[in-house]
């Protein structure tokens, strides 16, 4: 025992010395991600294997998922980050603001291998998650069957929680008001359509608790503050699997979204960053994340490699894809700022 620990110590020490002696010569790649269990899963599934394969050092940083810091880095011309994980809506913001580079897909993979909407100009999908409805089975006697049940205050009285943002909520409002899923963004692109969506939200406004951070929905359910909440499926799944909470997920009429990874402008290790993106675009590698966290792959050809026990928990499981909407990035790029302002004014009224 003693000898083992001594050898380990020696190994650690020599590793530290080697690391100190040649930090410049060894190639490095620095990624900034949003932390938590999710980043740990990325590390196990992709970062560490890639570093091992390439013989490089993979540095990690955390941030809160907001691009302000990268914009500041780009403005000073000194960008110590090579890769950054972002939400889909943020990709477009960063793209237009000239903060993220437009990717050269010839260095990544064939764009057609990605699910629609996951190979954007400035970002590649990492995983698929669903905006779903969640509830506590011990609180609701009758189970909701669709996300749109959140608008039914007669059948399901009590407070309900929604994300404090217009995206998803306006779409659901129109769906609940009878607009077919295929026409949602067409209707929402008109002033009358926006009015209609807000009018629908008006009907439950006094019963809504608004959440902001992804950590809040399971907490709101656990404290019985609300009877149901919209949520990201992974966080609810974690509460079910790891904390043994009696929660359930309603998938019908989910809105499918993607986590993205992007390269900031003026990144120092551009080639290596592209190599990483190409590595993660391999079907078998791409499916690996599901082993560590219940999010689905963005590659159409990766599904066969997803472990069988994980598949039923994913937003892309056939059972969950009977009725769904894919968030329209382009639409929110155009109307996001305006609708956010209107949403905030509406909230304040």
């Amino acid at each position: 025992m003693k000898r083992v620990s001594r050898t380990t110590l020696l190994a650690l020490a020599s590793a530290a010395i080697v690391g100190q002696l040649q930090p410049a010569s060894a190639e490095e790649l620095t990624v900034m991600a949003t932390g938590g269990a999710w980043q740990a899963a990325l590390r196990q599934a992709w970062f560490e294997p890639f570093a091992k394969k390439m013989g490089i050092k993979f540095n990690e940083q955390e941030y809160t998922g907001e691009l302000g810091k990268i914009k500041a880095m780009v403005e000073t011309g000194n960008v110590p980050i090579d890769l950054v994980t972002v939400e889909t809506s943020t990709v477009l913001q960063g793209c237009d603001a000239g903060v993220l580079i437009r990717l050269d897909y010839s260095k990544v993979a064939d764009r057609s291998r990605f699910l629609p909407g996951t190979a954007l100009d400035c970002g590649v999908g990492i995983d698929v998650y669903g905006d779903v409805l969640a509830y506590d089975t011990t609180v609701l006697k009758e189970a909701p069957t669709s996300v749109l049940d959140i608008f039914d205050t007669k059948k399901f009285p009590g407070k309900r929680a929604m994300r404090k943002a217009p995206a998803q909520n306006l779409e659901w409002a129109l769906m609940a008001d009878g607009v077919p899923i295929a026409d949602i963004y067409k209707v929402l692109g008109t002033l009358a359509g926006v009015d209609r969506a807000f009018k629908k939200l008006d009907t439950i406004k006094k019963d809504i608790v608004w959440w902001d951070a992804g950590a809040q929905p399971p907490q709101l359910l656990a404290s019985k503050e609300v009877v149901m909440t919209t949520a990201w499926n992974g966080r609810i799944q974690n509460a079910i699997d790891q904390d043994k909470r009696p929660f359930a997920i309603v998938w019908d009429n989910q809105i499918v979204e993607y986590d993205m990874i992007a390269i900031p402008k003026s990144a120092k290790n551009l080639d290596l960053a592209y190599k990483y993106l190409a590595y993660a675009a391999d079907p078998e590698v791409g499916a690996r994340l599901g082993r560590f966290i219940p999010y689905g792959p963005v590659l159409t050809d990766a599904t066969p490699f997803v472990p069988k026990e994980v598949l039923p928990k994913l937003p892309t499981a056939p059972d969950h894809m009977k009725s769904y909407l894919v968030g329209d990035v382009e639409f929110w790029g155009d109307h996001g700022e305006d609708l956010v302002k209107r949403f905030n004014a509406w909230l304040a009224q």
């Binding site: 302000g68 700022e337 956010v340 302002k341």
Partner: protein, 403 residues
């Protein structure tokens, strides 16, 4: 207090101001260079935004030739096509489209579409361009482009007051469904005032009592007052969530005591937010008051009383004026800190309880619209400093004057 004039020693009049200035110099220099200059540079973005002008050199020239307002003629459209082609090649078209989209909602995708067409040299005339981008056929779009070509802009500052330039060239209110900032500013100042008064009502008596305790006991109480400082504001906010929520500790207590028959909705309400903010701010109001009270000699109040003043008069006329600088300092700190809250409103406040800093943080980090953030920050800074100057002058109180 003392009016005995002692002779001045050593220094001459001319250099009198230099010694106090030298004492303040290190901090002033640090502030000027590492805070003042960068912040002024950043805030100046509220009025200086060259993105649109930089992207449209030809269009600007052509617009100068074009007579009158409204939708311009063919030459301007040709110039715009040339500019967009250039911007597309230089990769600047997206920033231009975003900047225009701020002033002209929905313009982004239409501009990008026209730019794509222009690059392929197809159909660059007025008619074809309007077909690809219907917005270009509207008067208000060209009003937005014309004002946008000016590098110095009042757009963001006006927006901060829910105002805009109308098509007729006058300043008017933005549509009611977009008017949000005046209300948020008003709410921010209102909540800050309420919380400041609440902390004062709680802190002043406590500070007074601590001053009169035996030193050992006073030390213990001060430890309690300072204890919150060791826990993150995130933890304190989470603690209030646990207390205030529907099945939380406070509701349990109220029901058990029989004070309420129903569970109160304290979370996601302004009441809950004010309670939590008052708790977090209490030490900030208390400590300055306490530190001034410590230096006040109780003998003066006793003297007033022994000279026949009633307790209230002695307190009001003798004690209060002496501790007033502490009250002012504590209230100033709490009031200003309240203006900057944004974590607590998000986690405890309701939808209509978001404060101005939430919006500013959103513009900086999410929308990446630093111009708007700069404008809102400037308005906040100017109004707060204005309030400070007015109040101190009106009340005749100065924080920095020795007796």
């Amino acid at each position: 207090m003392s009016s005995i004039a002692l002779p001045k020693i050593g220094t001459t009049d001319r250099w009198d101001g230099l010694r106090p200035l030298a004492l303040a110099a290190p901090l002033l220099l640090l502030l000027l260079f590492s805070f003042g200059a960068p912040i002024v540079a950043l805030l100046s973005r509220a009025v200086y935004e060259p993105t649109i002008a930089n992207a449209l050199p030809h269009t600007i020239a052509a617009l100068r030739q074009d007579s009158g307002a409204g939708v311009p003629g063919e030459p301007v459209f040709l110039a715009l096509a040339a500019d967009l082609k250039q911007a597309q090649a230089a990769g600047a078209v997206y920033e231009f489209a975003k900047a225009l989209n701020t002033r002209l909602p929905g313009a982004r995708s239409q501009v990008l579409r026209v730019a794509r067409i222009a690059t392929q040299d197809q159909a660059t005339g007025k008619e074809a361009m309007i077909k690809a981008a219907p917005l270009l056929g509207e008067e208000q779009s060209w009003a937005a482009i014309r004002t946008g070509t000016n590098r110095f802009t009042s757009f963001y500052l006006l927006s901060a007051f829910d105002l805009r330039w109308t098509e007729r060239g006058t300043i008017g209110a933005v549509p009611a469904d977009q008017a949000v900032f005046l209300r948020v500013f008003g709410r921010t100042f209102l909540i800050a005032t309420i919380v400041t008064l609440a902390t004062l009502a709680l802190a002043f008596p406590l500070a007074f009592v601590i001053t009169n305790l035996r030193p050992a006991v006073a030390g213990m109480v001060l430890v309690l007052v300072l204890l919150p400082f060791w826990t993150s504001i995130l933890v304190r906010t989470a603690a209030w969530t646990v207390i205030l929520q529907k099945f939380g500790l406070l509701n349990d207590l109220l029901l058990w005591l029989g004070l309420t028959s129903d569970r109160l909705e304290l979370m996601y309400s302004r009441t809950g937010l004010i309670i939590a903010m008052t708790h977090i701010q209490l030490p900030f109001t208390l400590l300055p008051i306490y530190s001034v009270m410590r230096s006040v000699k109780p003998s003066l109040v006793r003297a007033a009383q022994s000279l026949g003043a009633r307790p209230f008069t002695a307190f009001w006329r003798v004690y209060l004026p002496q501790v007033m600088p502490g009250v002012l300092a504590g209230c100033l700190l709490t009031f200003i800190l309240c203006l900057g809250y944004y974590i607590t409103p998000v986690l405890i406040g309701g939808a209509s309880d978001q404060l101005i800093s939430n919006f500013i943080a959103n513009y900086v980090n999410v929308e990446l619209n630093w111009e708007m953030a700069a404008a809102l920050s400037f308005v906040l800074l100017a109004s707060t400093l204005g309030l400070y100057v007015t109040l101190t002058r009106y009340l005749g109180l100065d924080l920095f004057k020795m007796g």
